[in-house]
Symmetry: C2
Amino acid sequence: MESNKKLAIVLLSGGMDSATVLAIARQEGYAVCSLAIDYGQRHALELEQAAHQARTQGVLRHLVIPLDLRAIGGSALTDDLEVPKGEPRQGDIPATYVPARNAVFLSVALAWAEALGAQDIFVGANQVDFSGYPDCRAEFLQAFERMANLATRMGTEGRPIHIRAPLLDLGKADIIRRGLALGVDYARTLTCYDPAPGGLACGLCPACRLRLRGFAEAGLTDPAPYARR
Amino acid sequence: MESNKKLAIVLLSGGMDSATVLAIARQEGYAVCSLAIDYGQRHALELEQAAHQARTQGVLRHLVIPLDLRAIGGSALTDDLEVPKGEPRQGDIPATYVPARNAVFLSVALAWAEALGAQDIFVGANQVDFSGYPDCRAEFLQAFERMANLATRMGTEGRPIHIRAPLLDLGKADIIRRGLALGVDYARTLTCYDPAPGGLACGLCPACRLRLRGFAEAGLTDPAPYARR
């Protein structure tokens, strides 16, 4: 029974960061409900890996909410635009930025948190490597938390909601070390923006480059399957 | 052609407040893209009235995004709970509150605003009559706007997003007078929480009571069809 544990919502994407965050929330003693958003991403395998992480890491309930952002457009991850290759460029907002994605996903998590009475929402945001995403910065997350407490019954009734981003200031190698120490199976995570049929990571897109560099810096080999690396 | 006009997003629910806000945005000279969220509300007629308002008020594009909040639960408007009857009670958060609804809807509007480059998002929030909804208060909207500008490319690149709530401090009678002066057809709006088959407003729920009282205070008869009033 986990009924005496504090409840948390974890936003789970199927990538390595959110899988690590789930393991951290479990280690901190939370009973976890995990949330994945089916936003019309190019690769449904992401959602399969999210469900796998939820199952193997013992969440109470894993919820997939369909929210098709393709109708809104504006990103190489949802539109028929070319996904860039190579190292991420510091300072630019990448073509793979999905407009206001973290605001949307965190808001849906907030709605579920309020319905369940969960005071903690965990998210895999990281401001070290992909500094180009405005919605991965500490000041965004702080502003979201403030808004969340004004938006909700819980916030106005003295049970404040906390946005938890334990990876915010970690580099990829540190994230990997932390996750491996907690037993995260990174073979069952998908980071690639543009995977080949069968789920092989491309090895070339900015997300793959960053991930492979993280494993190299940690002195390890990435257990996930790649088309090339 | 409206290409030289400023673009705004209007959140359109099918109710009288958002229909009025749409008319205000048009009067202010905006070219409007309207957004309705199909969140599993009890009555699809709301969405039909939203589409009718969009069509007759000349929006550039009306987008309906499915986002099923029933899986999240926690409200009489989405769950199989009884909708309360009678006057709204001041100060309480009603059973019809949908957890974090305005945060979710505004976030989706924000994503579309950023994809289109629209700097203004109009919403029918009102803090006079339904003071029980935390996410209809000025301080929530201000916190959302601040978050929105930290979440987005536009906000970080000096084209700030504005959350516009022109009805925020108006009573229902004033909203009705304002809308009628702008030609809003209130016969084609649905406010009722629990309409009868065929779309007749119940006349008994808090939303109906408030609306009917507003028309009475304005010395007018509500043109919408009611089962009883």
